[in-house]
Symmetry: C2
Subunit: 408 residues, 2 copies
């Protein structure tokens, strides 16, 4: 008799966004004439840039003719894209990354969920709190996280590293030693960046205790300040302890096109019964067995992001969102809020006023201003009393939202 | 100290296609003037059809404008595609499948590799022998298959169901009861189809013993004979025991575009501590946590396959490949070979002459005719003394290959 994977059944329902949806619907029904402004969404709104559109049309035309038709892509990605990424995202910044250490995929969500598979089942993970839920949930599904406590919202076998205003939203080293450490900087949801010194500290720590850092760099294009690393491979020693996740979603607006990459250096290796095993080879094996490559036309679109034209257009796209982020950040500061993020990130993270819970503030903001954001507690216990607004809307809506918030 | 997933390390190297590559290279170096014809390839060669190209260009243009831009797709697929598939592939054939039972994904390889995740870790799988390697390898990676015996090429904890000319390449019920049964008809690599009666027998068997059938229908568009089911849901009772995998790779040439679907009926459910659990909800959860949807432009391309224009063009594409298959099948028969497949499938499966092993015949065919195929033993022990040729090349090459084979 077949049985389900009971680890799946341990997952609590995804109440965060469905609860938000229900509350918004109820408000809309009760106030049909009021316009809602959504600053909770993590999806982009600007269209794909002209260089990408041009590359897509050209690649589609190639697929229309037998002479230029491309079938199965190489499992690990086309050389032209692996090279462009290794060259532009890494070697141009002084990071020692070879073309064949870049694995192309259909998204950083898939990669961040799948990467745990190449590690032992009894690995202990450490995550920031608050955190992007995929890191934890994918490990729950793999049976690594123990039991869930619905009251506290924590799993018994996960190491949580609180990130609050007290530590500048950069975690302290945990007291218990983890096997796998998930770090995301610039961070979702807090919008916090990490300095190079502090990230170097994490690399040194991981090398010392024999842990791997899964470094999610999905928001690196939003970095505007000096001394904030764009890649963990800017740190010395990262080749022996780090894996980096890259995404085209937020820098190039590929959320609906799907393209990402994972970087695993050959130096990330571990001895098993006297033989050195490269984690690179395990991930290559996973790609070869469970994946058939990202679409040719999408990989061509990705390559267009690295042309001079593409680079200039993406810079402009990011600047547009950052204009919103700055406006939201400054407006909330002026209104007396304690505000974080927004400088190197499209996310603004605010402390709720008057010690409101995250959900109390959600209701308050919806009721009084018709603005929808995301309660910080939805990302983990340490997100309580915080709230996330995103810069992915239009400038006009960002301005109007801040205007309304200032008035209440 | 982090550790790798040691189940990955149990996998033997993928020697099949690398060995083929090495042998072909050696031959080419020794015979630089001789033209090689490759009939081993499982990839398509015809370009995408005009209806699909048109849909892609239109969808790309939508992504170029803020008004029509689409970001994240719904995790489970756009309604327009789920509806088109449910309507055309299932309800039009009398199969009772609802739109929301169709899950859109980036490929049948991913789906066939990932589907095992929603089942208990101690599930016992049964596979045909010979078999598409992904079914077994994905279960090895999940720790379900026991130990590998390099001499016999079998895993200690897998139920193998031999498919040979003796049973018409349709497996007999296993003596040991499995939890999960993988069936693929029309079959890769044997090209065999299964009659509706015989598939109904499997559905009845699965319902009786409480097993799930993972039915891979990737080649259903190649069915030309009556009484061969295009979907397992043509069988009575399949809604309580079956999952079906669908692909756009071989019927529409999407190997480089990536689109597929998995169908899980709501009636596929199992009791856990008194509560009925739908496997549908587990797969939905997997999509929601580990996947971000297939690209909008690719889903629009998929929908174009269901327009009148698209249907006619795909029919023509499949007919072109089938013309090759028939030519290869008939030519080999005339040359005195024992030949199978090729009638409802783009694969022709031949018995090697003079009791040659699959690899001996590979060498013989390469040396004497300059034709490259795939040794049957590479798909499993019962594939020994068989050989696979595919119809995905050009007609001209198929004709020349058969001409050369006839001459030796």
């Amino acid at each position: 008799m077949y049985r389900p994977n009971e680890d799946y059944l341990k997952l609590p329902g995804s109440y965060l966004f469905s609860t938000i949806g229900k509350k918004v619907n109820a408000y809309t029904e009760a106030n049909p004439d009021k316009k809602i402004i959504r600053l909770g969404i993590g999806d982009v709104t600007q269209p794909l840039c002209p260089a990408v559109i041009k590359a897509l049309h050209e690649a589609v035309d190639e697929q229309a003719s037998a002479d230029s038709f491309r079938g199965y892509a190489p499992d690990l990605g086309y050389e032209f894209l692996r090279h462009a990424m290794a060259e532009n995202d890494f070697r141009a910044r002084g990071c020692d990354i070879a073309d064949d250490e870049v694995f192309i995929s259909d998204g950083a969500k898939s990669d961040s969920a799948n990467i745990q598979e190449i590690f032992a089942r009894n690995s202990k993970i450490a995550v920031c709190d608050p955190v992007y839920p995929v890191y934890v949930d994918s490990n729950v599904m793999a049976g690594r996280c123990g039991e869930y406590d619905a009251n506290s919202g924590v799993w018994s076998n996960v190491i949580y590293m609180p990130c609050t205003s007290e530590n500048g939203f950069a975690p302290d080293y945990p007291t218990e030693t983890p096997d796998i450490i998930y770090l995301c900087f610039p961070n979702n949801p807090t919008g916090a960046a990490i300095t190079k010194d502090r990230l170097q500290g994490w690399v040194d720590y991981a090398n010392k205790v024999g842990a791997v850092i899964i470094f999610d760099a999905a928001y690196e294009a939003y970095i505007s300040e000096e001394d904030i690393p764009h890649s963990i491979f800017e740190c010395e020693g990262a080749r022996t302890c780090a894996i980096e996740l890259r995404s085209f979603s937020k820098n190039a607006g590929f959320t609906g096109l799907r393209l990402a990459a994972t970087v695993i250096p050959h130096d990330l290796k571990v001895k098993v019964e006297g033989t050195e095993i490269e984690m690179h080879s395990l991930w290559a094996r996973r790609h070869g067995t469970k994946y058939n490559g990202a679409p040719y036309i999408v990989q061509k679109a990705g390559a267009a992001c690295y042309t001079d034209e593409g680079k200039a257009q993406l810079k402009e796209m990011v600047a547009t969102y950052m204009k919103n982020a700055h406006f939201i950040y400054d407006g909330l500061s002026e209104a007396g809020y304690e505000v974080y993020g927004g400088k190197n990130s499209p996310y603004v993270w605010l402390k709720t006023p008057n010690n409101m819970t995250s959900w109390e503030y959600f209701d308050y903001l919806l009721e009084k201003a018709g603005v929808v954001g995301t309660p910080g507690s939805g990302f983990g216990p340490s997100g309580e009393h915080y709230f996330r607004l995103t810069a992915f809307g239009s400038y006009q809506n960002s301005v109007e939202a801040i205007d309304r918030i200032k008035k209440i």
